[in-house]
């Protein structure tokens, strides 16, 4: 018996038929395989390493099972807590300034009548460059002897500063670099939020005699609350992962003044090859990030589930 083309096609279609229930799972499976391979497997391996003695520069390599001893060591390591403190100083400082400046820039851009597109394109440039590459340029701009920043401050009669060499200034200088690079991103998110607010709301406010500040306080901020939470969280998670800028600008110095947590983990893991301690710190770091993100997103999640219901 010979099958017609139509019969073959129908037969194949029915053989490979995927039910509508399974279809989403089929589509998501490759992504989950990638996530599993590149995220879950390394995470599981990091947990495994954190429970063992593992010094890759010794013949033993990955050694005996230690239980929670590495966690005990890390939580009692003064350099770990010092690095955590510096990470929080950087993250809170940088994100707060970026949110403030980002909002100001967004309001300015939103009020522009001409050249808005060009301005939007120009401010995005700092985001487009690698922090490592541009960090090296900033290192020379900050240099106390040759740098442009000292040339600028001295023209205003302000004493020249040792931007990256003074332990009291080095972290502020890294924050300034981060603010330069990431404020445009915050501004663009806020600008998108502002542009989605119906103009009638502002017009109604104006009819009621609302000043600029009152419009901002009682219309813009509430309407942007989700964007504010979202961008704060995004920037905070990115800020606590700070590494490139520190590597390029100060290498953690002077002394340990800018040795943030990721840089300390890098030193332990890739300079000392104590992958057990580096993994332990990474697990604790991940846990803390998830908790903070969860708390920050809680309100949005509750709102979303209420809307869904």
């Amino acid at each position: 018996m010979t099958l017609t083309d139509e019969q073959v096609s129908t037969d194949l279609t029915s053989r490979f038929r995927v039910s509508d229930r399974m279809y989403p799972y089929l589509l998501i499976t490759p992504a989950m395989i990638v996530v599993g391979f590149f995220a879950l497997y390394p995470l599981g391996y990091a947990v495994y390493l954190s429970l063992r003695h593992a010094d890759l520069t010794t013949a033993m390599g990955i050694g005996e099972f230690l239980g929670l001893e590495n966690y005990h060591f890390v939580l009692n390591d003064e350099f770990f807590w010092s690095a955590v403190r510096k990470t929080l100083i950087f993250s809170i400082g940088a994100v707060a300034i970026e949110l403030t400046l980002g909002m100001a820039i967004a309001l300015l851009l939103n009020g522009m009548r001409f050249l808005k597109g060009i301005a939007r394109s120009l401010i995005i440039l700092p985001i487009a460059v690698s922090p490592l590459a541009v960090g090296l340029i900033w290192r020379y701009m900050y240099h106390a002897d040759f740098g442009i920043f000292n040339a600028i401050v001295s023209t205003f009669g302000i004493p020249e500063q040792n931007w990256l060499g003074d332990p009291g200034l080095a972290m502020a200088s890294i924050i300034a670099f981060d603010v330069w690079q990431w404020t445009p991103f915050v501004a663009l998110i806020f600008l998108a939020g502002l542009q989605s607010v119906p103009s009638q709301v502002y017009e109604a406010g104006a009819i009621d005699g609302a000043s600029f500040w009152q419009s901002f306080r009682y219309i813009s901020v509430p309407m942007l609350s989700r964007a504010i939470i979202f961008v704060s969280l995004l920037r905070f998670i990115d800020a606590v992962r700070l590494y490139d800028s520190v590597f390029a600008l100060t290498a953690g110095g002077p002394g340990t003044a800018t040795e943030v947590l990721t840089f300390y983990i890098y030193r332990l893991g890739l300079r000392f090859f104590r992958v057990d301690l580096a993994s332990t710190m990474s697990i604790l770091f991940l846990y803390a990030t998830i908790v903070i993100a969860g708390l920050a997103l809680r309100r949005i999640m509750i709102q979303q589930s209420e809307l869904a219901e």
Partner: protein, 496 residues
């Protein structure tokens, strides 16, 4: 119908993506990765030939290495893949490949401070049998200066690598200032002894103080418009500050690691060395010293900002000498750094135990250490490790802009051999880690984040942590002739 085709396209797209992800990517082309690694284009080796991968310090040396590689390829029919790696990631990149047994590199490049760790941890192959089998083919290796051979090659009596580029320290100074009659008279009147190459670090501190000039002061009889500083220092958190400070400490008779393996950095002589650096030299350095590495100090000299360096890498001579073109009337001279012992070091080349072609790798090393290859290296501005090259007066006369430091280099290396003092920490298996810790804590002292005493106490803790207690000092191979303290430099004999 549309739905069916959408599904088919979706499944095919996913399959294509997976296939692309699984592609091994055998084709090798010129690339620069984010990890600071640059790989030269690799072609298939000639029939019967093999490919040797060389992890090499990126810089002008890479260009020279590629030139030499091309000649070796033509001669042997093998292929050499030069993988240039930036210094800040050179250590971790190679160790990571080694502990993962990837066999990515046949030839490794290591700093003298990493030698013990690389050898002890099995990242380097003991070369003695290979060298013996190579016979005359490797005879050029015998000309490596003995001072560098012991510090850079030997571990527990075996040879693990060969030094190909030395960054041994001396010092640079503006000899036009040192020879100016007004400055000479003023200095002698102020300090009670003649202005000459400093023989001690106290003298260096005097000279650093003397040459510090504010705008309006005179230098060589002329008013200076901007601040001029007595000394340039590499006090930033980069792997150079330790070489400056250790030179002072060794001269004081102090040690990073004592002979019994305990940290020596909290000994009074060691803390005094750090204190001298922080309180007697650093105040006369440009404000940028706190963030400076060696290249910034070169920049300070070329900008006419400083009168001298402290202990400084002599291999930077080709850059330092450019000051003479940039600053009118300036002359640059090299001299041994003050005191007794300084940083005597080199980059070594060894063969990975994971190499599938160790004989071919050794063949290339032998070629690299040949007289002709090293001569071209020297002419191009490299600091050779071969005695025959460093001591070649004709070469120096013919290439004053690239080899003018060779006489000083030879004096420092010869003194190392005569003194027979080698710092203990070069014989500690955790040398690479200790080297990294030094950067942190010396920088902390220099920046004022810690007092010299406080920084050295933390450094001592770090050393004990790295070694898991007292360190093992494996310098037995130095034999009975080993001197536990460095001998003073023979300035008079050498006419300084």
């Amino acid at each position: 119908m549309l739905k069916k085709w959408t599904r088919i396209i979706a499944v095919l797209s996913v399959a294509a993506l997976l296939a692309a992800a699984c592609d091994s990517g055998d084709d090798t082309t010129a690339t620069t990765a984010d990890n600071g690694e640059t790989s030269a284009a690799t072609e298939a080796p000639a029939e019967g030939g093999v490919t040797v991968n060389w992890a090499v310090l990126a810089g002008f040396y890479t260009d020279w290495a590629e030139e030499v590689a091309a000649e070796w390829e033509a001669e042997t029919g093998n292929n050499l893949n030069v993988v240039g790696i930036d210094f800040p990631v050179l250590y971790e990149n190679q160790v990571l490949e080694s502990v993962s047994d990837t066999g990515a590199y046949d030839i490794l490049t290591y700093d003298v401070g990493w030698k013990a760790e690389f050898s002890e941890s099995g990242h380097l192959l003991a070369l003695d049998d290979l060298l013996a089998a190579a016979g005359d083919a490797a005879s050029g290796l015998n000309d490596v200066h003995p001072a560098l051979l012991e510090t850079t090659s030997k571990w527990r009596g075996q040879t693990y690598g060969l030094p190909y580029y030395t960054f041994t320290m001396g010092m640079f100074y503006r000899c036009d200032l040192w020879e100016d009659p007004t400055e000479m008279a003023d200095f002698e009147a102020a300090y009670g002894y003649p202005l000459a190459v400093p023989r001690t670090y106290d003298q260096m501190a005097d000279m650093a103080e003397f040459f510090r000039r504010a705008p309006g002061d005179t230098l060589k009889g002329e008013a200076v418009a901007e601040d001029f500083y007595g000394i340039g220092l590499m006090a930033g958190r980069f792997p150079h500050v330790q070489d400056e400070i250790n030179s002072i400490a060794w001269t004081n008779g102090a040690k990073v690691i004592n002979d019994d393996g305990t940290p020596g950095v909290t000994d009074p002589e060691f803390v005094a060395a750090v204190d001298l650096y922080v309180n007697e030299l650093l105040p006369f350095a440009p404000p940028g010293a706190g963030t400076s590495a060696f290249n910034e100090v070169v920049g300070q000299m070329q900008s006419g900002l400083i009168s001298m360096t402290a202990g400084f890498y002599l291999d930077q001579y080709p850059n330092m000498i450019q000051t003479e073109q940039l600053i009118e009337g300036a002359r640059i001279c090299a001299a041994p750094s003050p005191g007794a012992h300084t940083w005597v070091g080199a980059f070594g080349l060894g063969i990975s135990p994971d190499s599938e072609n160790p004989e071919a790798a050794l063949s290339f090393l032998s070629f690299l250490f040949s007289e002709s290859a090293q001569r071209r290296f020297a002419e191009g501005g490299g600091s050779s490790t071969l005695t025959g090259i460093i001591s070649d007066d004709a070469l120096v006369s013919a290439n004053p802009l690239t080899t003018g430091h060779y006489p000083t280099l030879l004096e420092v290396l010869d003194h190392q051999v005569a003194s027979n003092y080698i710092a203990n920490y070069l014989f500690v298996p955790q040398g690479g880690k200790i080297y990294d810790e030094m950067t942190t804590w010396y920088s902390a002292a220099a920046a004022g984040e810690e007092t010299p005493q406080g920084a050295m106490e933390k450094m001592a803790e770090a050393i004990e942590r790295a070694c898991g207690g007292p360190c093992e000092v494996a310098n037995d191979a130095l034999g009975a002739g080993y001197s536990p303290t460095p001998a003073p430099f023979p300035y008079d004999e050498l006419g300084y």
